[in-house]
C-alpha cells in the first residue's frame, strides 16, 4: 500500500506548504512530519513526499540523506542516542554505552529483537554540563548514573 499522510498529517502538510516565502522551504519540516507519521523515511515515503511537494525524488533523497536525524532505516520504538563527544566522554559516556548495551543485550548500533530499542552513538547534543547524557526520541535524559539509566529503561520496558 502506498504511503499517504493521515488527515491530520495532510492538514499540517498544507499549513507548512503555505507558510514560507518559497515552497521548497517546507521540505525539511515535511520530512520531520513524514518521519513522525511513518516511523522512518523509506524509499516509498520519500517518493510520496516528492509527489505531494511536486519536486524531484532526487531532491528529497539528497536532503533526507544529508541530515543525521532522518532515519533511512527503521529504528526501534525507543531510539536511545548516547552522546559520545568530548565532555560526555570525559564524564563516562563509554561506560554508559557499554552498560546500556549489556542491559539490552545488543551491540551499539543494533536494535533489540522485539524492535523496542535501538542504541546509537551520537555527536554533541548541547547538554555538556549535565554529562553523561542521552536522548530517547524527543527527550533528553541528563546526569546519567546506572540507577538513573535503570529507572528510565525499566519504565520504557513496562510501558510497552
Amino acid at each position: 500500500m502506498a504511503a499517504a499522510f493521515s488527515e491530520e498529517g495532510k492538514k499540517k502538510f498544507d499549513q507548512e506548504m503555505a507558510r514560507h516565502p518559497d515552497r521548497q522551504a517546507a521540505l525539511i519540516p515535511v520530512l520531520h512530519l513524514a518521519q513522525g507519521e511513518f516511523g522512518f523515511l523509506s524509499q516509498e515515503v520519500m517518493e510520496y513526499v516528492a509527489g505531494i511537494m511536486e519536486i524531484p525524488v532526487s531532491t528529497v533523497y539528497r536532503v533526507a540523506t544529508f541530515y543525521t536525524m532522518f532515519n533511512k532505516k527503521p529504528v526501534g520504538k525507543y531510539h536511545v542516542q548516547v552522546c559520545h563527544n568530548l565532555s560526555c566522554s570525559l564524564l563516562g559516556a563509554e561506560d554508559v554505552l557499554e552498560y546500556i548495551a549489556r542491559k539490552l543485550n545488543i551491540k551499539v548500533g543494533e536494535t533489540t529483537t522485539d524492535n523496542k530499542f535501538t542504541l546509537s552513538r551520537v555527536e554533541c547534543l548541547g547538554s555538556c554540563g549535565t554529562a553523561p547524557m542521552m536522548q530517547i526520541n524527543d527527550r533528553y535524559h541528563e546526569d546519567l548514573t546506572q540507577e538513573k539509566i535503570d529507572k528510565i529503561l525499566n519504565e520504557l520496558l513496562t510501558r510497552g
Binding site: 516565502p21 541530515y67 568530548l86 555527536e123 554529562a131
Partner: protein, 424 residues
C-alpha cells in the same frame, strides 16, 4: 564583582518562560520604546554604540552587521536567529530558550524593526525538541498580546516569527549553510562574498545573529548602548554566557562580565576541580579553538583579546575543563571523529582531511600507530587551514595543531608503546 544580569535576570524565577512573568519583570518595554519613540536608525545606533560582538563564536560586531543591510533592496529582508548550538562544549543558548524565550523574542523583534524585516526564522537544532515547543508557545503568547503579528502595539510594524527545526547537522550552524537548510537543501555553505546581508535567505538581504546576541538587545535599548559598552573591556563589551563542562565541581551556564579572570572563575564560581584532581588543560570556547595548557591559562582574563593573546579564542564560550587523568590522544580522537562526521563533503581538503585525520587517530588509539603518523597529521591540518568555502575545515584543523604542539609527548608515547601514557 557587581554587574547587571543582562541575559540571566529572569531564569531563576518560577515559570520564567511565561509571558506574564516576563512582562512583570519589565519585559517588552524596550520594544514599545523602540516602536513608538525611536527611528530604525536610532535603534541601530544604540546597538553600534554598545559594540556587542556576535556571541555565536565569530565575534563580529552586531551593529556593524545590521548596517550592511541595504535600504533599497527590491527583495524582503529576513532575520535568521541562529539557535543551532552545535559546537561541542556549548549549551548556553538553550538556557535562554528554555527559561526566558520572551527575552529572545523581544530581541528578535527589535532587530527586525531596526533592519526593516517582517519575517524572522529561528533556526533551532532538530534535537532541541522541548526548546522548540517552548518557543512555539511563547510566540503564541506574544501574538495574543500583540507583541508579534500585525500592527504591533498599534504601530504599523508587522512581524511573523517561524520556528524552523534543523535535522542534525553541525555545519548548519554556519550562516550560509543555515540559509541553505531553511531553503530546503542540504546544508552546504556558500562562498562569501556575496555576504548574507546582501544576498541571503530566498536571495533577500539577511541578518543572521546568535540567540545570545539577540537576547542582549532589549537591555541595550532600555539602558542605552553606552551603558552596555561600559561593562566588560574596551573591545569586548558587555557580558558573556560561558557554558562550562568537564572536570569541575559546578558545571553549568554562567553570565560573567567580559574580562573576568579565569583563575577566579575556576576557583570561585566553578567550585574548583572535581574530586580534587589537578587541572591539565582548558578548551576555552568550544572544541574548535586551540587547547590551552594549565600554565597558559594562568592570569588570563575571559575576553576576546586576552584569550587571543594567550594563544586561543573565546569562541562560543563553551569551556571544557580537563584534568590530569585525561589522555589527550584519546581526547583528540574524539574531536576528530566529530569533525569527520560533520564535514558536509563539499571541499576536498575538509572532506578528505577530516576523514584521514580521524582514521589515523583511531589507529593510534587502537595501538597501531605508525612512525609517520604525526608528520601526516601535521601536514593534513596545515592543508586544511584557509583552503575551504567555510571554516569547518579550520575548526577541525586547529585542535589537531594545538594538541600536537602542546602534548606531542603523549602522541609519541602512544605510537611507540601502543598504549596511553596517561591511562595505560
Amino acid at each position: 564583582m557587581e554587574f547587571p544580569r543582562i541575559l540571566t535576570n529572569n531564569i531563576d524565577k518560577p515559570d520564567s518562560h511565561r509571558i506574564d512573568v516576563y512582562i512583570k519583570a519589565g519585559g517588552y518595554k524596550s520594544l514599545e520604546k523602540a516602536l513608538k519613540g525611536m527611528s530604525r536608525d536610532e535603534v541601530r545606533e544604540e546597538v553600534k554604540k554598545a559594540n556587542i560582538r556576535g556571541r555565536g563564536g565569530a565575534g563580529f560586531p552586531a551593529g556593524v552587521k545590521w548596517g550592511f543591510i541595504p535600504k533599497d533592496s527590491d527583495k524582503p529582508t529576513y532575520l535568521c536567529c541562529n539557535a543551532d548550538e552545535g559546537e561541542p562544549g556549548t549549551f548556553k543558548d538553550r538556557l535562554i530558550m528554555e527559561k526566558d524565550p520572551h527575552l529572545l523574542l523581544e530581541g528578535i523583534a527589535l532587530c527586525c524593526y531596526a533592519v526593516d524585516s517582517h519575517l524572522a526564522y529561528i533556526y533551532i537544532r532538530g534535537e532541541f525538541c522541548q526548546q522548540a515547543s517552548i518557543l512555539e508557545e511563547a510566540i503564541e503568547e506574544a501574538r495574543a498580546k500583540n507583541f508579534i503579528g500585525q500592527k504591533i502595539l498599534g504601530t504599523d510594524f508587522d512581524l511573523d516569527v517561524i520556528v524552523f527545526r534543523g535535522a542534525g547537522a553541525y555545519v548548519c550552524g554556519e550562516e550560509t549553510a543555515l540559509i541553505e537548510s531553511i531553503e530546503g537543501k542540504a546544508g552546504q555553505p556558500r562562498l562569501k562574498p556575496p555576504f548574507p546581508a546582501i544576498i541571503g535567505l530566498f536571495q533577500g538581504p539577511t541578518v543572521i545573529n546568535n540567540v545570545e546576541t539577540l537576547s542582549a538587545i532589549p537591555w541595550i535599548i532600555e539602558n542605552g548602548g553606552d551603558k552596555y559598552a561600559a561593562i566588560g573591556t574596551e573591545k569586548s563589551t558587555g557580558t558573556k554566557l560561558f557554558s562550562v563542562s568537564g572536570h569541575v565541581n559546578n558545571p553549568g551556564v554562567y553570565e560573567i562580565p567580559m574580562g573576568y579572570p579565569f583563575d577566579k572563575f575556576l576557583a570561585e564560581d566553578l567550585g574548583g576541580m572535581k574530586d580534587g584532581k589537578q587541572l591539565k588543560a582548558v578548551i576555552p570556547g568550544g572544541s574548535s579553538v586551540p587547547v590551552m595548557r594549565v600554565e597558559e591559562m594562568e592570569n588570563v582574563n575571559l575576553d576576546y583579546e586576552s584569550i587571543a593573546d594567550a594563544g586561543s579564542m573565546l569562541g562560543s564560550g563553551g569551556m571544557i575543563i580537563i584534568n590530569e587523568e585525561t589522555c589527550m590522544v584519546n581526547a583528540l580522537r574524539i574531536l576528530a571523529r566529530f569533525y569527520a562526521h560533520e564535514s558536509c563533503g563539499q571541499c576536498t581538503p575538509c572532506r578528505e582531511g577530516t576523514g584521514w585525520i580521524a582514521q589515523i587517530l583511531e589507529r593510534i588509539v587502537g595501538g597501531d600507530g605508525k612512525e609517520g603518523d604525526l608528520k601526516d597529521l601535521g601536514e593534513l591540518a596545515d592543508g586544511m587551514m584557509g583552503q575551504t568555502v567555510c571554516p569547518l575545515s579550520d575548526a577541525a584543523a586547529m585542535p589537531v595543531k594545538s594538541f600536537l604542539e602542546k602534548y606531542r609527548d603523549e602522541f609519541e608515547y602512544f605510537i611507540k608503546n601502543k598504549r596511553s601514557m596517561v591511562t595505560g
